[in-house]
């Protein structure tokens, strides 16, 4: 099918007849809506999309996408998706997963998929809680968080999903927020055109078991003060009045500076999402833990100069075939020493 022949798809084409079974008010609805809006714009026939998930509230996602969908088992979506991608590199494979699914039981598959650079897009719905099992803390829950399983506070320090992904050699790392629809769609589009593994952390509100987990970021006032929106080629500015920025220090560290007389946008770091080295993105990923620093959203890193895993695999098949000729079973049977009994 040539692109020219593609029927113009709409959001509706990606909706299923399944009743959506999330709690009213759940952030998952917004993510679903954003994905359903973005998919038709990608110029890919609907049947080429596959959405794979594990288990969790977020992992019900495939049921609501009128594409091929696989609701697998807890934590294993990246591995299922790798099998699909290896065999059919032409498919557009997306993984929908949660902070428990991707980072607790599925942590290993997530980091291995990223290091291999399998061409899969991962939507990690981070609500900092186990939603489906009704409210235990997750690997992204805050230290000391009180939950059903930690009535006296959790003893675990959380992962920073972005830092972990960068430590796993991810080639595309981004963050967005369920309620920032425009930003979310934009981020999804960036991920969609990345050829290698794309890891998108989506801050999502679970209004039943962890309501307001991201309030500090999503609240109207908080938003501009506590969030910095990264844009490639633009300086790192934030603040309600765009009056703050991030500057490099001589020792390689960064600081937040007020914009005005002393510092202007020229003194700030210009965001380079396509930097070949991951240490810059890593530095950004950790700044939210420091007092006074904002949480970065947008594309932290998009380095697409590496071959995709499935392409390397399939190219090997082609190369060996080109070199040795297509396998001949009869010859293979008789390889090595044979003898005849008459």
């Amino acid at each position: 099918m040539t692109t020219a022949a593609l029927p113009q798809l709409t959001k509706k084409d990606f909706q299923t007849d399944q009743e959506v079974r999330w709690c009213p008010g759940c952030g998952d609805y917004a993510i679903l809506s954003a994905v359903q809006s973005v998919f038709p714009e990608l110029g890919i026939p609907r049947e080429k999309f596959v959405v794979v998930s594990g288990i969790g509230c977020s992992s019900r996602f495939p049921y609501y996408m009128n594409t091929y969908g696989f609701h697998s088992i807890h934590g294993r979506a990246p591995a299922v998706a790798t099998g699909i991608k290896a065999v059919r590199p032409d498919l557009d494979v997306w993984v929908a997963t949660g902070d428990g699914d991707a980072l607790a039981i599925g942590g290993n598959h997530t980091i291995h998929m990223l290091r291999r650079n399998v061409g899969i897009k991962v939507l990690l719905f981070n609500n900092r809680i186990y939603g489906l099992t009704k409210g235990q803390y997750s690997p992204t829950s805050e230290y000391h968080k009180v939950t059903k399983s930690t009535p006296y506070g959790s003893p675990d320090r959380p992962f920073n999903p972005i830092s972990l992904a960068i430590g796993s050699e991810a080639t595309f790392v981004a963050r967005s927020v369920d309620v920032f629809q425009a930003h979310l769609k934009d981020t999804l589009k960036h991920a969609a055109v990345h050829r290698g593994s794309a890891f998108i952390e989506i801050l999502q509100n679970c209004n039943i078991f962890n309501n307001g987990a991201w309030e500090g970021i999503t609240e109207k006032d908080a938003r501009s003060e506590h969030v910095i929106q990264l844009e490639h080629g633009k300086p790192l500015v934030f603040g309600k009045n765009r009056d703050k920025g991030i500057r490099r220090l001589a020792d390689g560290d960064i600081e937040v500076v007020p914009l005005g007389d002393k510092y202007t946008e020229k003194d700030l770091i210009v965001h380079d999402a396509h930097h070949p080295r991951a240490s810059y993105a890593f530095l950004l990923s950790h700044m939210e833990h420091r007092p006074g620093f904002p949480t970065p959203i947008g594309v932290l890193r998009a380095w697409d100069d590496l071959p995709r895993y499935e392409d390397v695999m399939n190219d090997q098949l082609k190369e060996v075939t080109a070199k040795k000729g297509r396998g001949d079973l009869a010859k293979l049977f008789r390889a090595g020493d044979t003898w005849e009994v008459k």
């Binding site: 099998g83 065999v87 695999m313 003898w339 009994v341």
Partner: protein
Amino acid sequence: MSTLAETPLAKSKREVIEQAVIRFAGDSGDGMQITGSQFTNTVALYGNDIATFPDYPAEIRAPAGTLPGVSGYQLHFSSSEVYTPGDAVDVLIAMNPAALKMNLADLKANGILIVNSDAFKEGDLRKAQMTSNPLEDHSLDKYRLFSVEAQRLTRAALQHLGIDAKAMDRCKNFFALGMCYWLYNRSMDPTFRWIDEKFSKKPLVAEANKLALKAGYSYCEATEAFQVSYEIPPAKLEKGFYRSLSGNQALALGFVTAAQKSGLTLFLGSYPITPASDILHELSQYKNFGVMTFQAEDEIAAMTSTIGASYAGALALTTTSGPGMALKTEAMGLAVMTELPMVIVDVQRGGPSTGLPTKTEQADLLQALFGRNSEAPIPVLAASTPADCFWVAVEACRIALKYMVPVIVLTDGYLANGSGPWRIPEIEDIPAIPVSFATDPATYEPYKRDPQTLARPWAVPGTPGLEHRIGGLEKKDGSGNINYEPLNHENMVRIRAAKVAGIAQDIPDAVPEGDAEGDLLIIGWGSTCGSITAAVKPQRAKGRRIGHVHLRHLNPLPKNLGEVMKRYKKVLVPELNMGQLLWVLRAKYLVDAIGLNKIQGRPFKQNELEVKIEELLGV
């Protein structure tokens, strides 16, 4: 056979015999596996029937000269049919005291014992925990001892090459091999060819090995060491071309064949584990057959990537051993629920837990049948000989694709590493495996079934109009939508069971070898086939009325099995476990079958079976 022909006829006596069992034993670093497989290759090429049993330590390389470091390779070769590598050994080659100590018990009285006497110094004896030198203390008097300075003689033969002592010593196994070739009147040519190919880039090493081989041969020739040499004529096997294959190689070939016969890409998702890794190694070479191998981060990813590949339309396969199978079980449940075709190979090894990784056992049958949460029936097949692994692989793929089910194949360490002759089939004689993908949106429903097979349709992503969702939650019959209704669940559980049970209509009835009715029926499965066959033959020759059914299909069982059992007074089920098939047969048929169970990491000896048969028959 040129080398043999060129050699002036030996003055020593040449005896024609029917068969022999030879075992090479030495340190793991001594190259015993190569020595053994070269000898095997040579006698197989000559036309003998063969069965081999390599036996090596779990450690990569235990300290040289110690007991745990001993590596062995046994070969049974014959001018008539061979079923096992043999209980007892006619010729033992022991390259050091540890090898002697670990293997001597299996040497027949008056058997030939070749030892490398250079390795019997005090330090060597100490490492083998020996207090006196067996070459001197008459403890070996009941054997025909040939004490040969293999190391010194090898060095002497290679001196002129200008290589160091270590490199020379590395050739002493070929000196021993040369001696064995002389002893059995075999040509050195196949091994020369192998050396030339193997060391094509290291001509000096090739030369050294060839010289060592010749030196061993000539040593016998010159010294008349053995007085007698043996001739074992070719076996009268079924006509055709043959090749020697290990079970793992045969499996790999079988899967490639099934992929070609079904026109599908073969996808292997695997995580290395002894003794299954060689299947991965083999298949990773067949890229020009469209074979894709994915070395996963663990067995769970191996299994789930296999599920993904199957969903995407490949002939999907995962290979492992017991502990890895245990890790796959949750995902195997998903394979059952999504009714996707794939094959799961478990090359069983000694357990429980890490157990005895390089030893053989048949103790994963119940895990294969029941090792999943809830009711998750899966067809189970088992291979009985190395060559049979080929056919079982093909059959497993046929069932998986026809019924849209995951299928388990059980082999074991003994089959995996052992080898035997494989009669090379004609490609055309292997039936095609028809596969049809769903394409019609008008009639497609994810769980609408073929009324005959109960298979659901296979609709792969990329097919326009068939977009649908599957997963591990219970499904509505037909539509495949999530459904928790009580009666639908019961219905679906029963359909999944019926689909697997229905395969019984599509597999051959059990036909006993030997007597079709009588006093004793022996039911076996897997790698015990050779031992049982070998034991039944002489017993029947003594007039005892015995039948032998060797099950390839363990789930479902052949539909006439219950009826067959009724034709015999007693049923014996020998297994290398605590009685797992026995348990199944008792539960299903309420038959008071008797188990013969051995859990020693080793196959049955023919004799052990014969003793049990005689006990049961009261003779």
